[in-house]
Each structure stands twice: as C-alpha cells, then as structure tokens.
Symmetry: C2
Subunit: 339 residues, 2 copies
Amino acid sequence: MLHVAEAARVSVATVSALINGTATVSPELTQRIEQAIRDIGYKRNAIARSLKMGTTRTIGLTVPHITNPFFTDVVSVIQQAFDRAGYAVMLCCTDEDLNTQDEQIRLLLDRMVDGLIVARVGDGGILKGIVEQADVPVVLLDRVCEGVDTDTVVLDNRSAVFDAITYLANLGHRRIAYITGSFDISPMHDRMEGYRDALQAAGLAVEDELVRFGNFHEVDGYNATMQLLSLRDRPTAIFSANNPMVIGTMKAIRDIGLRCPEDISVACFDDFPWSDVFQPQLTTVAQPVQAIGEQAANLLLDRLAGNREAPPRKLMLKGRLMIRNSCHPLGAIARSVSA
Amino acid sequence: MLHVAEAARVSVATVSALINGTATVSPELTQRIEQAIRDIGYKRNAIARSLKMGTTRTIGLTVPHITNPFFTDVVSVIQQAFDRAGYAVMLCCTDEDLNTQDEQIRLLLDRMVDGLIVARVGDGGILKGIVEQADVPVVLLDRVCEGVDTDTVVLDNRSAVFDAITYLANLGHRRIAYITGSFDISPMHDRMEGYRDALQAAGLAVEDELVRFGNFHEVDGYNATMQLLSLRDRPTAIFSANNPMVIGTMKAIRDIGLRCPEDISVACFDDFPWSDVFQPQLTTVAQPVQAIGEQAANLLLDRLAGNREAPPRKLMLKGRLMIRNSCHPLGAIARSVSA
DNA sequence: TGACACGTTCGAAACGTTTAGATTAGCGTT
DNA sequence: AACGCTAATCTAAACGTTTCGAACGTGTCA
C-alpha cells in the first residue's frame, strides 16, 4: 500500500479510503491510485487488516471424521454458506479424540477465527471455558454438550431411532440388535433412548446381549456383528447407530454366509447416495444435512453480524426414515407396517 | 503480551524471548513470566505474529467437490498431514467452476496462506500467474495444467483406464460405452486416451455414439446412460470415468428395467467403501488416495521448509483395477481374463 | 584500577493496515 | 476583507508481535 501511495503521490490514508470506500476521494486521485494499483499489482494484506480490525473473516470447523458421509455433506454445505458470505473456513478433523480436538481448537483460536462450529467429542474439553468467556461465538453441531450453553443444531435422535425400531417391530421382529457408539456423545445417548422406548412401546424387553458398542469405525461394526450372529438365539434384525459401522455389519453378514434381508434385516443411521442403487437397498434414517448445515451457518453468521446478546438458540431437526428393501417382514407375525 | 510483561515487571522483548526460546532468560524472570502468563491466561496472537514473520502456517486447499469420495479421502489425508506439521488448512470447494476457483484462490492469497494445493478446474485461471511469480508454492493435485509448471501429483489415468477397458474387452465385450467429463481437465483427457488405446489394442473401433459427456454429476450420468441404452445397437458394457456419475448410470439401468451385470456390465473410476458390500459389487479403478494425499502434502511441506529452488517435481501414481462382479463375460466370445 | 567479555535485559523500530483528528483549499456570506 | 463551512487530503498512532542493537551488571584479567 505504501508503494501504491508513493507511485500515486498520495498518502496511504487516501489509498485506504479509496479501497474501502470510507471517504470520498476526488476523481483525479482515484484515477492515479487505481492506475498505481494496476501497475504494481497490489493486493491488500488481509493479515495486517485483521490485526488492525480485530476480525479475520475466517471461521473454524471441526468434525470427528470428514469421511463419514454425514459430516462430508454438512461440511460441504457449511463451506458453501460461508464462502457466499465472504468467509474462509479452516477445517479440522478430531478423529473422535478429545485431546486432538482441544489442540485444534487452540490452533484455530490462536489464528483468531471469528467463530467456531464444532461437532464436539468427549466432554467438550476446553470448549466450556471458551463459551463461558464468550470470546468467540461457537455453535455446536450434531452433538449437544452438557455444561456448554450455546447455539446448537442437532437432530431429534430419539424419535428418529424410535421410528426405525418401531418399523422393525411392526415387521414382526422380536430380537432387534443395536450397535452403538459410546454414550458420552449425546446422539448416541439419545438414539439408545429411542431404541429402548421403541422396544418398550412394542412390548419387547431390552436385552443386554443385543446391544453392542463400537468406536464408529467399520471394523467395530464388523466385530460387533460377528458377536451378535454367534449368539445361540440370533437376532433377526440389526440397527446400526452409525453409518461407517454398518459397512462392517454387512461384511460380517456376508462373511458368515447369511443374506440380507432374507436371513437378517439391517437398517442404520445416516443416508448415503448409493443406498438407492445397490442391493440390498438399505433402509436408513436420513438426516436433513442441507438444513443442518445451513442452520448452523446461519446461527453463526447471525452472531458474527453482531447479534451477541440473544440467548443460546437450540434447534432440533427431524430425521426421516427411508424405507427400502433391507428389512423383511418376519413370517406370519408381521403386522401392518406404518411408513 | 504487554499485560504479561507488565505483570511480570519485564519488557515485552523478554517475554517474547522466553516464549520462543530465542534467548536465555534467567530463572527468576522465567518464573515470574510463566506465573503472569498463567494468571492472565495469555494466548499468543498468531495474526500479529504472522504479520511480523511473514508466514501464517496456514495452507489453502481447493477441490471441485468435497462430496466426491475421492476428494473426500484426499482432503482427509492432507488435513491430517498438515495438522501433524502444525499447519491449519483452509478448505474451498470450487464446484467445478473456474470463476469460483479464481475467487477462492484470491481469498486464500489475501489471507497470506503459505502454500496452495489445488485440484484445479478449467484452464487454471489466475493459477498461471501465481506460479510464475512464485509468491507462494503451489502443488497441483489430480490434475495437471498446461502452462502451469509446478509440483504435481496425478494418477496415471491413461493406463488405469486402459487396463479397465482391456479387461472388459477380454470378457468379450465389443460395444463398450464410455461416459466422460469435459476434456479440459487433464484426467478426463488422459482417461479418454486410455479408452481409445485399449479399444484399438483389442481391435475395436471407437464409435462416437458410444462416447457421452456429462458434467460430473449424478444426473449427467443418468442422462448419458439413458441415451446409451436407447441406441438401436445397445452397448453391452459401460465405463464411467467419474464416480458420482456412475450412480446415475446405475439408476438409469434400474429405471429401464435392466439388470447389472446380467444385462449390462458396468465399471467406473474411483473406488468407495461400499463397493465391497452391496450388489452388484462394482468393478472400479481405485486410486491410491492415501499416497496421493501424502505425496501432495510432502511436496508442499518440503517447499515450505525452504526448498524453493528445486525444479518442479511431477509424481505419477498407478491406479489399481478392483475386479468385482459388475461385469459379466459375454457369451461364448469370452477369452481368458487377465486380472 | 581500568579494560574487557559475557550473560541478561531492554528500548524501539518494523510488519501493513485503519482511522481519528488535523490541515488545507475552495467557496459563499456578511 | 475576514470569516466560517465543506470537501478532500494528510499525519500519526495503533493493532500485537519479533528482533536488532544498545545498555547494564558482574566477574576476570592485566
């Protein structure tokens, strides 16, 4: 900018005024300055600007795994929304690890991001302190967090799973297995509640041996399913509370030599683009990814626009059961199915 | 930092020296300063630091579509690599549009990223100028770019497609259709070459009506396939040069009432986690995503570490044909199949 | 005792912007 | 002719760091 000012024989203040339109500058100077900018190929240094202005027009986004198709889609939507608004987004993957998350949030905060969107992990870690001292606005995505009172957009996980399990029960299944991630993240907790409640509503008991834990990865789903299928009284349906794990479930079923849905029914959380096309076409709970991403972006953009005082806003969206052909009615017991 | 210095009754220079370990500071002062840092909860302002140092420890990464599983995986690998190295990554999606890409690169450059990894679009746009004036190192990912001479990691697209088409020809297919994206990005060009060469090697003619263009999206694959299937002399195999488009292909086949692989064989570029599990299990060309991401990251990290003078390094990796069950041998014509 | 070296600490400039307030010029009023 | 008003421009401080070179105190040596 200094060079531009010299070349145009004006002060840097005038150059700045012209660039930002913060004051009127005469036609001749405008002319001279624009010429100089072109000659020199001047680009404003956003770092210097950020230092002075105290805002970076950059936000931080952390998710557990970007390869989980749910997060992929949400990240994509959020990125687009902020791009439209002239913000850059720094993306971090926490790999479902609290320490990593803390470290990455620190990294983002160091870089003075204007806001944070976090699909948190563990108990939230340093997130609590950050929200409390209200330095930067943060919105929680997908997962609420006890003790962290801030803008949030989550799914109604309980009722989504309730519907799915009820669907299976109505098909006549009595032994419905459930594969879940750890309960310390809220969706897993809420989904389990939906499972429990649905069984109860259907007059079925919750049996411990039918509930298995995994750590969100394909291999965990595989192992869990192997255990389930080797029970003396094998389940007739399996619901996986997480998408990557269901791949493991399908592989285990294949490896053991069973067929889905003829021998065993399968449904899972989170839809993906292929589910329509390949066999079996998986029955899934689809999250409104577009809406989730947009709402999260909007909540944060609203804070960034200056609305700091409003009390935390908690949005809860509804999932949708996508019934396809991976679940069979069970013999004569099947009742009428409510879609 | 000023506050810390005051609280510890030292100068900011000393605080800086301690934090960065750039000079020895006595035990008492160390003690006082560390205490003050803790008391105040001081965090270094990376923006101010960047301004002074001229480096942001941030890189920019642009891809056409993050929801394309190939890019999802590569982004994930790259993100991890830079995270380990203490860099933040700003992610942008160009949506396969040159103007968007130019805009986003400008956005990233404004923010003084230390380097750029670009899966470019169109003819490269402002990329050329950036590489020429060598302000920031850039590595090209997945796609080379005429006139942009810089570090690059790409797949050997020609031979990957050559192998796939040869495989189909060896199965006895004579009418092998090909769905491609626009040739102005290099992989599409090279893949087409592989198609042509393989047909020729198999003694088959390239027929224009069997080559269809689409714009990388599912719907394009759908339309292209619909056209192919309504030819009087229908192809017996379809190869899709892009992953999202193959979903459209499968939907079209289903909608028209055909079965894959019994009625028509299908193969495509880019592997995805589900391909093993669902029917038909798609035969695909798998890219070594892990290696691609790591190599790209390494090339850039090497430049960032100061190796600016080395001539552009061009890496070409090999794809791998994953033979599954979406391609049938064609009647008695089938020859022995080379895996 | 003075000169010198060494280890520690500090003052101040610099990075590239923005912006408040000062200055200047031009013009119309009285 | 002196005055005030407005519009255009400029000066200089500030943002929070890093770093160069100077300053200071202490001990060693001649």
